[in-house]
């Protein structure tokens, strides 16, 4: 196993054994296996930091779940367990089982790599992305981003082989999360249906490139790439420390990744897009809480017919979360004073020791 001081990239994600979104174990297995294989293939020393937040008492903790993967020469797989009593001390602990960004901060603060990617357990690196990272050309002072490509391979998780994983991700693409929003990709998927596997990475890169160029003409004023940014934010370890990680707010996780992007931008970190073919595949699954309803922001809309009339009503859900108004306010504040941080020095529970198990 790579010595801690030689680890180039730490990949931080969080989960718990609760089947969030359905088939979560299947998604995690493919995600971790892919990362492990790519680390070996490109001889890139990677640490996977999986934060098991508030593990359910009736299921095995993630450190003990079989077949989740193991460390090898270029891959160190650490599981940090944050016990239920830490979770229970936060407001709304009964409503939100996993505080995603508190959990990621726990992992980021303890990560060993020179660079740290905060991501999720259903992200698979495109081969070109792994190859690019393997060149070890990342620099401090940057916030690296990648377009997320949503792929509908949920039904194949039990049978999909490592050899066919990349091809399946491209052939089953559903939508692309670009700087300019979510772009449906059904027509793009049709265009690649008859292309041989060897051509797919190039075709994907060309398609993303063309799509982004087209959207840019329509929406020239977008600044940072915020779409699904919580799935891929890659910075040097010292930059994460300087910014003190994600905002630790005991609320639904919606928009907290955007706050971080704006904080990094205000602090002078340059957003750098990885090349278009360096995509991050996201295994499409049942949506999370915030987008289960009709609207962003936790408002349920009802349209009811009453004879020839229509009754329109809005009911706010009883769940605190940020919407763009708070983000806008934060942007103004952080640009006014870029040295400010949301968190105190104890971010990521810096004063606590958590159990860390290296899977072997």
């Amino acid at each position: 196993m790579t010595p801690p001081e030689d680890i180039y990239l730490s990949v931080v994600a969080t989960s718990r054994n609760d089947d969030h979104g359905g088939k979560i174990m299947g998604r995690m297995r493919h995600c971790f296996a892919s990362l492990s294989e790519q680390a070996a293939r490109y001889r890139l020393p990677i640490q996977l930091v999986l934060v098991d937040w508030n593990p359910p008492s009736d299921r095995p903790p993630l450190a003990e779940v079989p077949d989740l993967g193991a460390s090898h020469e270029f891959f160190r797989f650490d599981v940090i367990t944050v016990p239920p009593e830490v979770h229970a001390a936060l407001p709304l602990a009964n409503d939100i089982p996993l505080f995603q960004y508190y959990a990621k901060n726990v992992g980021i603060r303890r990560a060993l790599g020179r660079f740290i990617l905060a991501t999720n357990v259903d992200i698979i690196f495109a081969e070109r992305l792994a190859e690019h990272l393997g060149k070890c050309t990342l620099e401090p002072g940057r916030m690296y981003r990648s377009d997320r490509v949503d792929t509908d391979i949920g039904d194949q998780l039990d049978t999909l082989t490592p050899e066919r994983r990349q091809e399946a991700c491209i052939r089953n693409l559903v939508q692309i999360q670009t700087r300019y929003g979510t772009a449906p990709a059904a027509r793009l998927a049709e265009r690649i249906a008859d292309r041989p596997p060897v051509e797919l990475p190039d075709v994907l890169g060309q398609m993303i490139s063309a799509l982004v160029a087209e959207l840019k003409v329509k929406m020239p004023k977008f600044d940072l790439h915020l779409t699904a940014c919580g799935d891929f934010q890659l910075l040097a370890r010292e930059d994460w420390a300087r910014l003190r990680g994600y905002a630790e707010l005991p609320i639904h996780s919606w928009h907290i990744d955007s706050l971080f992007a704006y904080q990094a931008d205000a602090a002078g970190l340059k957003e750098e897009m990885l090349p278009p073919d360096c995509a991050a595949f996201h295994i499409h699954h049942a949506p999370g809480w915030a987008n289960q309803g009709n609207m962003e922001g936790g408002l349920d809309v009802a349209l009811q017919r009453d004879g020839d009339k229509l009754q329109l009503s809005i009911v706010p859900r009883d769940m605190p979360l940020l919407v763009t108004d708070e983000v806008d306010r934060f942007i103004t504040g952080i640009r006014h004073e870029p040295r400010a941080t949301v968190n105190n020095r104890n971010w990521g529970y810096g004063d606590r020791e958590f159990q860390m198990v290296t899977r072997v």
Binding site: I314, I334, V342
Partner: protein, 380 residues
């Protein structure tokens, strides 16, 4: 006064009790009353007084003598504490406006705020009595930070000049175009050209869907139409974009939205609604500079969400003329505290100096000066 042509309905809540906003409110009342007299426009201004914090002095006491005249009446409707209202939530601006809309007497009712000053072009438009029953109206908003006059002797022309000098943006929320008010106010010609360019840059002449671009705190339609749609929504969410909902209700009833020509704009002292950023920044116990993120007490219905809501509605049923008119209801029949008899005071006195300005003009028989009121085209 017989039934006025125009009712202007404004909330007077907790925010409006700040010294800066009070100063602006006095300026607004004086300028509008004098404009009404100059242009022989019969109007009433309705202030709906509700101090949500329950600690303030009544608006009537804060404002002192109300600058009414034979063309302009000012009414202050007071809303008592929530305990008297069987739990009705009435703290927010649109709720307060609903109370005034429901009790308005004018043939047309404008829901706005006291943080505005009407440009002379807009007042001429009102005075021309060209508003149509089956339409809703918007006007371009010019954001300004004006110097203030003594409210007891406001000359509306001077107030408008100060608003022009302090202007810094033309707004069609969420769109905004910045400009230099000091340079633009050098002459009427330069001002007109600056405004024309701002309107063009905002795309006002080719706007496909006016409803998506709510103009902020300015929505005008006939009283009958307000009553038919049932006021602004009384949902328990924040309300800056509720005018979109009222507009879309009107649109489904087949009423087109009309944007007044850019020369008929109004000024908004928008800084009154700003929350100081410094409030979020602080030094913690370690001496580190920190930034606070606080959630509002109620959920937002913001630009993004309201636009998405309209899309949902549009996907559910066709908009006239593609489909038949449909009544989209949002409120119960008792909207605007319709079941309550609320206390009201009206203005009776006019400061002598302001009277002098109007009396002089009336004695001289001066017709409202300047250009004729522009015509308007409907846009849906």
């Amino acid at each position: 006064m017989s039934e006025p042509y125009l009712s202007i309905v404004c909330a007077f809540g907790h925010a409006q009790r700040s010294p800066a906003w009070l100063k602006q409110t006095r300026q607004f009342l004086s300028a509008t009353a004098i404009q009404a007299a100059r242009h022989r426009l019969s109007l009433e201004i309705i202030l709906v007084d509700r101090d949500s914090a329950g600690e303030g002095t009544a608006a009537a006491n804060l404002l002192g003598a109300l600058p009414c005249n034979e063309f302009a009446d000012i009414r202050i409707i007071s809303v008592p504490g929530a305990e008297i209202l069987n739990g009705h939530v009435i703290d927010r601006e649109r709720r307060l406006q609903n109370i005034g809309i429901r009790r308005a007497r004018g043939a047309f009712v404008l829901a706005t705020g006291t943080d505005v000053i009407f440009g002379s072009g807009l007042v001429k438009l009102f005075a021309a009595r060209v508003l149509r029953e089956g339409s809703t109206y918007h006007a371009l908003r010019i954001d300004t930070a004006p110097a203030y006059l003594d409210p007891s002797c406001v000359d509306p022309a001077e107030a408008e000049t100060l608003c022009r000098q302090g202007a810094f943006a033309a707004s069609l929320p969420p769109l905004r175009i910045g400009f230099d008010g000091r340079g633009a106010s050098m002459s009427d010609t330069i001002w007109d050209e600056t405004i024309r360019r701002a309107g063009a840059e905002l795309g006002m002449d080719r706007m496909a869907n006016v409803v998506r671009f709510s103009l902020g705190n300015f929505l005008l339609m006939s009283r009958e139409n307000w009553l038919r749609i049932g006021g602004f929504p009384e949902w328990n969410v924040s309300d800056p974009y509720f005018d979109r909902i009222a507009l879309v209700q009107a649109r489904y009833l087949g009423w087109p939205t009309t944007i007044a020509p850019v020369s008929c704009h109004y000024f908004s002292v928008s800084a009154l609604r700003d929350v100081p950023i410094e409030r979020d920044l602080y030094l913690d116990e370690d001496g580190d500079l920190r930034i606070k993120i606080e959630l509002p007490p109620i959920r937002h219905l913001n630009n993004w969400q309201s636009a998405k809501l309209l899309t949902l509605l549009n996907n559910a049923l066709p908009i006239p003329p593609a489909g038949p008119p449909v009544e989209v209801r949002v409120n119960a029949s008792d909207w605007g505290l319709g079941g309550f008899d609320l206390p009201e005071v009206t203005g009776a006195t006019l400061p002598a100096s302001a009277t002098d300005i109007i009396a002089q003009e009336l004695r001289l028989g001066a017709a409202p000066s300047g250009r004729t009121a522009p015509t308007m085209e409907n846009r849906t």
